[in-house]
């Protein structure tokens, strides 16, 4: 019972930290981008200000739309579920919910579907367009994700994330092996595609015809939009945090003691901050690739993931 309670407490802490940090990750990425561009920038807290304002506003809903209320809530709930299952602050997981990677991926996909359905539901040309592109990319990313997962799960002999992390903590030499590096790079590309970042999608675009993510939410407003935004930011933060933890697993709490959790929180925040700065700055150097060149990028990442699996057979 006590073990159960402390696990719940650890997961709750992780959820709270992620909800607080996810907008800051986006804010920091935008801010670092602004610095590189020679701007002053809106400040790291800007996403939080945006959220507060959106929650205070009156949402507008068009006739004939049915899922504008439910779909954003589902998206946010699945993002929270992902945050609860992925080892971020620590590898402590709820008993019976070991954060199996395949389960995490399918929970993520439920969120993806919620967003795609939201776009179709709006009944406008742009909503359908965004939804179609979003699902196409999601479908093509899927092999990369699963094969990369396969590659990182080989040393641990399990697809449960906490076990993978523990294995990496126990044998750091596996982290720097070519197989693991290739898999993490492939996973990184997949994360960029899945979360709608450059070079697959431009989160700051105003041009409807180039949109993917934005086109689906053109119809949402007020708190509906707030849920969508927070949900997407949580996805980004959780996945970036996961990749960060795969590369640098140290600092994660392996027990639910307060001290370990504190260390876990601090190292997680440091990893997230570093990734956000790198992400924001790197995006200045990237151009969005044409939609029909995206498969090329994804095929590349798939090849990396596959080679990660074969090279992991070579070096044991």
């Amino acid at each position: 019972m006590i073990a159960w309670l402390s696990a719940v407490a650890a997961v709750t802490v992780q959820l709270v930290v992620m909800v607080a940090a996810a907008p800051l990750v986006v804010g920091l990425a935008r801010q670092s981008r602004a610095w590189v561009e020679g701007r002053a920038g809106a400040g790291v807290l800007q996403p939080w200000r945006d959220l507060r304002k959106l929650l205070l506003k009156e949402p507008v809903q068009a006739e004939g739309t049915r899922l504008q209320v439910a779909a954003p809530v589902v998206l946010l709930a699945t993002s929270l579920m992902v945050c609860a299952q992925v080892p971020l602050v620590g590898t402590v997981s709820l008993p019976g919910l070991p954060g199996d990677l395949f389960v995490v991926v399918s929970v993520l996909l439920v969120g993806t579907v919620a967003l795609a359905v939201l776009g179709l539901d709006s009944g406008t040309a742009f909503g359908g367009m965004g939804s179609s592109r979003h699902m196409t990319i999601a479908a093509l990313v899927e092999p990369t994700v699963l094969v990369a997962v396969f590659a990182v799960s080989i040393p641990a002999g399990s697809s449960a994330l906490s076990q993978i992390m523990n294995e990496r903590l126990a044998a750091p030499s596996t982290i720097a092996s070519p197989a693991s590096l290739m898999a993490v790079v492939a996973l990184g590309i997949a994360v960029l595609a899945e979360t709608g970042r450059l070079p697959v999608d431009n989160p700051a675009t105003h041009l409807e015809l180039t949109m993917v993510h934005e086109a689906m939410v053109l119809e949402s407003s007020g708190r509906d939009l707030a849920w969508v935004e927070l949900g997407s930011w949580l996805r980004l933060a959780a996945l970036v945090g996961l990749v960060g933890n795969l590369l640098v697993p140290w600092g994660q709490a392996t027990t639910a003691s307060p001290g370990a959790l504190l260390v876990g929180i601090l190292t997680l925040l440091a990893k997230l901050a570093l990734s956000a700065v790198v992400l924001g700055a790197a995006e200045v150097f990237l151009a969005k690739v044409r939609l029909f060149r995206v498969p090329e990028l994804l095929a590349g990442s798939f090849a990396l993931a596959f080679l990660a699996v074969t090279t992991s057979y070579l070096v044991t």
């Binding site: 009156e58 949402p59 507008v60 809903q61 068009a62 006739e63 004939g64 809530v73 709930a77 579920m81 709820l94 019976g96 919910l97 199996d100 395949f102 389960v103 399918s106 929970v107 996909l109 993806t112 579907v113 359905v117 179709l120 539901d121 709006s122 009944g123 406008t124 040309a125 909503g127 359908g128 367009m129 939804s131 179609s132 699902m135 196409t136 999601a138 479908a139 093509l140 990313v141 899927e142 092999p143 699963l146 094969v147 396969f150 080989i154 002999g157 399990s158 697809s159 449960a160 119809e219 708190r223 849920w227 939609l291 029909f292 498969p295 798939f302 596959f306 699996v309 074969t310 057979y313």
Partner: protein, 669 residues
């Protein structure tokens, strides 16, 4: 007398009564009576199957039916599983049919064929000897052909579809006949057990054994709809009445998979490696090709038909991997893969039945199967929409449905399977994983497209405007299918254990919360807790949302945001065709679309465009490349053969004479 004994007799009796009632009853009562009897018979079959699955033995021998050999029906545990699947599907389909069947599909012939079709599908897995197996198999083929023909007077494409179906299904039958004939000749007996024993002792003989294996595989693969023998599927499914399509896809395709599993576990245990590799290759090709065609299809029933090919492909992959892994000594993952194959069969039956019935309900209400002309049905048909969406969730393998659980088990088998020393296995595993992953991704897109385009946004044609929810029996059947799908997804552990029992798979355990624990590969899944977690988190979000809803109510506007445009119409929405357009481009090499754009200009000026028409056609590439040339050759041969037959009685008698001489020559040698 055991439950199975009783069940088999009851099942046959009820079905026979159903056929008689269908032929005799007055038209206005026919549907209710024949449908109810069919449903009861199917229910009896379901219970019998479940009992057999649990290990109850029983047999029904009809010694006088045929002069040569007695017919024996004695389902073993594996047969019981597939019998139960067919029973469940048949029950829902019959229930649905009561409200659905109208026009030609409610004629006496159609109902009689339907009532006879259900038991034939259920008794294939119950057959204990070759003769009864082939007999029931053929009955299944004939009754389904009759059902398919129901609407032939109104729609010419029905005839073409039936022709394809009849030819393919009989070629498959011939392959089975030949394959079994070889085995029977080897063993001297006709029961499946005798065959298995003969195979055991003749394993080293080579040639014949491999030939029989190949023939049987072709026969079963054609029924399961594996590429390249799938061509009848996307034609027959759209043209059959929807409750018939549900049985054809959910249960009849399952008999093909049953046959393949039967080969691998009972008839010829430890099949050779080439067979397993061929099965995996066929499976990968079917899964990818099927889902690719489904994702670009606009006819909702054609889409579902191709999706059947995809799912059969997944099952074939799982079965092939199970055989490969067992040959490699990896019994743990091999058992998991085998269980995955059977779970996929169960979940496929559940979601495909729901989806076909849902599609039938849409056709019933609107008369449209073309997604491009549907839309906005959610407020008009909320129950159909709910059931169809849940079915879509299952087909896309998302939690918490049986589809998700079975795909998860398959993935676990794959990632734990590659630990051995076998190099072939080591390379096949990641390839299979990639194929399964891409299939899952495309299935997700396909189902979002089907559900989203048909039920959300605004209607794209007038047919939608008058749509009304289906009558009670249909709604009940659809919702029951969806309910089973979710229930099996939540109770993953018991499902897996029950399925594992039928093939003696070890290391598949259920936890106290109906979760699934794969002891063989040390992996666990807890759908109940997962659902609980998601529900708690949803409540966490929904709470504030409801609170805010009170404080700041939302404002309704008439139009969605259309860039301030004054004329926005439903015609501007994305259609199913446009939804799949990026995929058509990405996979252009594999799909080979033919497109043409016709621009009509005004007479006055070249640059004033009056109208632009875009037409895209996506044919089945396999059919084009493989069957058309074959057909051409056949036609040419037939033309030549016509010279043989000129109506002259003398010439026919000469043929007889020549034949007689030839036979005598052959015998005397």
């Amino acid at each position: 007398m055991t439950a199975v004994d009783l069940g088999l007799r009851l099942h046959l009796a009820l079905a026979a009564a159903g056929v008689l009632v269908a032929l005799a009853a007055a038209p206005e009562r026919r549907a209710r009576w024949a449908g109810s009897l069919a449903a009861t018979a199917a229910a009896a079959g379901l219970v019998t199957g479940l009992a057999a699955m649990a290990g109850t033995e029983g047999r029904l021998t009809l010694s006088t039916a045929l002069p040569l050999a007695p017919l024996t029906l004695a389902p073993d545990r594996l047969g019981g599983l597939f019998m139960a699947i067919a029973g469940g599907v048949g029950l829902l389909a019959a229930l649905f049919g009561i409200g659905y069947a109208h026009g030609p599909s409610s004629s006496a012939t159609s109902w009689a064929a339907f009532v006879a079709f259900l038991p034939s599908v259920q008794l294939v897995p119950a057959a204990a000897d070759v003769v009864s197996f082939l007999l029931v198999w053929e009955a299944m083929a004939i009754t389904s052909t009759v059902l398919l023909l129901a609407d032939h007077e109104h729609r010419p494409q029905v005839l073409s579809a039936t022709r394809w179906y009849a030819v393919m299904t009989h070629l498959g039958f011939l392959a089975l006949l030949a394959g079994f004939a070889v085995l029977v000749a080897e063993s001297g007996g006709t029961t499946l057990d005798e065959l298995a024993r003969a195979v055991e002792s003749h394993r080293q003989q080579g040639g014949r054994y491999h030939g029989a294996l190949a023939l049987l595989t072709i026969g079963f693969a054609a029924k399961a709809g594996l590429v390249p023998l799938h061509v009848w599927l996307p034609r027959a499914h759209p043209e059959a009445p929807s409750h018939v399509s549900a049985v054809m896809s959910g249960a009849m395709a399952g008999t093909g998979i049953y046959g393949l599993v039967l080969i691998a576990v009972r008839l010829m245990p430890e099949p050779p490696q080439w067979w397993a590799l061929a099965l995996v290759a066929l499976g990968i090709a079917s899964a990818l090709y099927g889902i690719l065609q489904a994702s670009v299809a606009t006819d909702v029933k054609r889409l579902l038909g191709y999706s059947t090919t995809e799912n059969s492909g997944l099952m074939a992959i799982a079965l092939g991997l199970a055989v490969l892994l067992r040959a490699d000594g990896e019994t743990g993952p091999a058992d998991v893969a085998l269980v995955a194959c059977l779970m996929l069969a169960v979940s496929h039956a559940a979601f495909k039945t729901t989806l076909f019935l849902g599609a039938g309900s849409v056709v019933h209400a609107t008369g449209e199967r073309d997604l491009d002309r549907l839309g906005g049905l959610l407020p008009r048909m909320p129950w159909t929409a709910t059931a169809f969406a849940l079915g879509g969730l299952g087909a896309a393998a998302l939690p918490v449905t049986a589809g998700f659980v079975s795909e998860w088990v398959l993935l676990q088998a794959i990632i734990h399977g590659a630990r051995g020393e076998g190099r072939v296995v080591a390379v096949v595993m990641p390839l299979a994983l990639a194929a399964v992953a891409l299939t899952a991704g495309l299935a997700l897109l396909t189902m979002v497209k089907a559900v989203g385009v048909a039920f959300l946004a605004r209607g794209r044609s007038e047919a939608v405007a008058t749509a009304r929810e289906a009558p009670a029996p249909m709604v009940t059947a659809m919702l029951a299918g969806a309910g089973v799908l979710v229930l099996l997804g939540v109770a993953a552990g018991p499902l897996a254990v029950a399925v594992a029992g039928t093939v003696d798979a070890r290391g598949i355990l259920a936890t106290s919360t109906a979760g699934l624990h794969l002891a063989a590969v040390d992996a666990g899944l807890e759908p109940v807790r997962l659902t609980g977690g998601v529900l708690v988190l949803t409540a966490l979000v929904a709470g504030p949302a409801i609170l805010l809803e009170r404080r700041r109510p939302r404002r309704r506007t008439t139009l969605p945001w259309g860039c301030g445009g004054v004329r926005t119409s439903p015609r501007m929405e994305y259609t199913a065709t446009s939804y799949a357009e990026p995929l058509v481009r990405v996979f252009g090499d594999a799909l080979r679309p033919t497109r043409d754009v016709a621009v009509t200009r005004t007479d006055r000026a070249w640059f004033v465009v009056r109208e632009v028409r875009f037409h895209q056609q996506l044919e089945d590439v396999v059919e084009q490349a493989l069957y058309r040339p074959l057909q051409a050759v056949l036609n040419r041969t037939a033309e030549l053969a016509r010279g043989v037959q000129n109506g002259s009685i003398h010439r026919y008698l000469t043929y007889s004479l020549a034949a007689l001489i030839a036979v005598l020559a052959a015998v005397s040698r």
